[in-house]
Amino acid sequence: MAQFVHNLTEEVPALVNAAVTYSKTRLATFWYYTKVELIPPTPAEIPTAIQSLKKIINSAKTSSFKQLTVKEALLNGLVASEVWMWFYVGEIIAKHGIIGYDV
């Protein structure tokens, strides 16, 4: 029993250290990508965004979206679904539950 406790107190710090180092490197990679990819748009970028939106609306009006390849269209659809999923993530945050409203 005493031997068990002794082993435990020796090995637990090592395990905790290993876990901390592992998560630190992962966190660093995560932060490295998040800083560029997941930040909200700065106010300076909003006109560019509105321009892109106008281009899309234009391509819908002039039927030039039919010139897209199927691969491009699929990719656009995938990106659009990802953007729409953020809506559901926001809803989950607001209702404080994953499935169903907790009334």
Partner: protein, 71 residues
Amino acid sequence: MVPPVQVSPLIKLGRYSALFLGMAYGAKRYSFLKPRAEEERRLAAEAKKKPDEQKRIERELAEAQEDTILK
């Protein structure tokens, strides 16, 4: 490591506006559903009262009519 990709501002704008719209929708729907659920619980509790009362009366009658000497 792959360099991080430059996300188009339209996509960023779309993502964050969808996030905030979702939060607003969730909050509104929650505040709409909460009083309705409470009302329904109240109604269910009231509708339960009468059959419960009946059962209680029946149970007491049955107990009074039992002729066992073990009481």
